[in-house]
Symmetry: C2
Subunit: 250 residues, 2 copies
DNA sequence: CGCGTCATTGACCGCAGTCAAAATAAGTGG
DNA sequence: CCACTTATTTTGACTGCGGTCAATGACGCG
């Protein structure tokens, strides 16, 4: 069982599939892309692997090529909260100097494209377009984080669950507009992890899911698979209402 | 009553007093600093002034030189939430392209150092150190936003209020360590605004303040002035506990 | 003095956190 | 393949924090 997979093909694949890493590599010069390819290595990790802990200064950063990671913080009372999820093409680890501000841990089996921070930084120094992309991305993340804090704070748990399901569905059908039929989504998190992310408890989560099922909005295939039967209703519950089929004609 | 104040002295003052703008100007070349000084102008605005609304693309960005601004988002149900406060040396407006993601509004009388985005951007293009600072700052903001979402979600309202008071006290006594005596802090927000920021209602806020007063942790001088009588207890309630006098010996 | 604004206080109630237990899924050894 | 253990999800009963509605009090202004 090899831990280091054949790289070149995968990197190209990742670059082609778009997302953050794709755009970043697209902003690179051919030379930079080649150097990145030479220096990066692919890692495969099982669930529960801690990639970085709060306070330490890791010398590697990485892109998620498959699976799901979580960024978590722990409160003084011992509890721990997931402040963000990392999905394929997302970057983790510190781009700028300084200690890690949160723990990074794999929630599922994951494939990671890793590169030494020093290498990445010198590489970046000669790629102004990539630098700018990094800045743009940081601001996008910031906006997302603020929207998330509003969602966590302003709405009931059913709304958060609905919003999360919408997010999964949107990611699945990205690009093409909605076929108005049922769509299956897969949950890659345990109830406990999802609860931590949505700022609630597993028990309350279960109630929210079954409330949506009772209202015929979703169908619970098994604890990790859901079928969305009534997307408009789901959107309404999530509090987003519009902006699905309306702007998907790109 | 002049709306455009004498600039040069003020800019230098702001630069010297440190903070984000100070560091940014410090990273500029002498030439860049001069050009910034030439192009920036000082504005004075009354409370309630809307500097930018969600969706628009403002052609100016600015630094807060005095007073307090709020970044707010409104939910589909009509309610509005303050997602961040801007205090002196903070920057507002979009550095990168794209529409404004939240409304920016003055909560008090405020002095703003404004500059056209295009000017700032061309200025920045020849200042790599400043560019990097911008990236670092964006990531710091991101971490702050995530910490904030944990605070909003994980703790009770008294804890949030306590944390907010600690923040005010920390800002006031910045640099020097704690004299173990009572400290006065001034609130620059209405109860409604603070409630929106802390994710609660004015009524609940009032109860939290008076609960702290009943426990002799603070003294309510008037609705906008508080005296902190027992800082350790306040820290304990806020859920931060440590990290006050311990690391202030720089 | 009357009015409007804002903070405070009180009464009520619903959502969700907590504790506890049952049901289901998943893994282990015979 | 089945008995047994362990982990995870689901259901139930209870409680409390905090949101909501409503009334009172404090303050500033015309």
């Amino acid at each position: 069982m090899q831990r280091t997979l054949p790289q070149d093909g995968l990197i190209e694949l990742v670059a082609r599939q778009g997302g953050y890493l794709g755009r970043l590599l697209g902003a690179f010069s051919d030379e930079g892309r080649t150097r990145f390819q030479d220096q990066a290595r692919m890692r495969v990790v099982p669930p529960g692997t801690v990639l970085a802990t709060e306070g330490e200064e890791p010398d590697e950063l990485g892109f998620v090529a498959g699976g799901m990671l979580a960024m978590s913080k722990h409160l003084p009372d011992g509890r721990t909260h997931i402040v963000g999820l990392l999905v394929p093409t997302d970057l983790f680890g510190r781009i700028v100097d300084g200690p890690q501000r949160h723990r990074v841990e794999s929630l599922s089996d994951a494939r990671l494209l890793c590169i030494r921070r020093s290498v990445f930084e010198t590489l970046l120094a000669s790629e102004p377009a990539a630098q700018r992309l990094l800045l743009v991305h940081a601001h996008e993340e910031l906006d997302r984080a603020r929207e998330w804090s509003v969602l966590l704070n302003g709405s009931k748990v059913v709304s958060r669950v609905a919003a999360f399901l919408v997010m999964l569905a949107r990611r699945r059908g990205s690009g093409t507009d909605w076929p108005s039929g049922p769509v299956q989504v897969r949950l890659q998190l345990s109830r406990a992890d999802l609860a931590s992310y949505l700022g609630t408890r597993p028990e309350t989560l279960s109630r929210a899911f079954h409330q949506l099922a009772d209202r015929s909005i979703i169908r619970i295939v098994d604890p990790y698979h859901f079928q969305i039967d009534d997307l408009p209703a789901l959107l309404k519950v999530s509090g987003q209402e519009s902006a699905w089929g309306d702007d998907a004609g790109g």
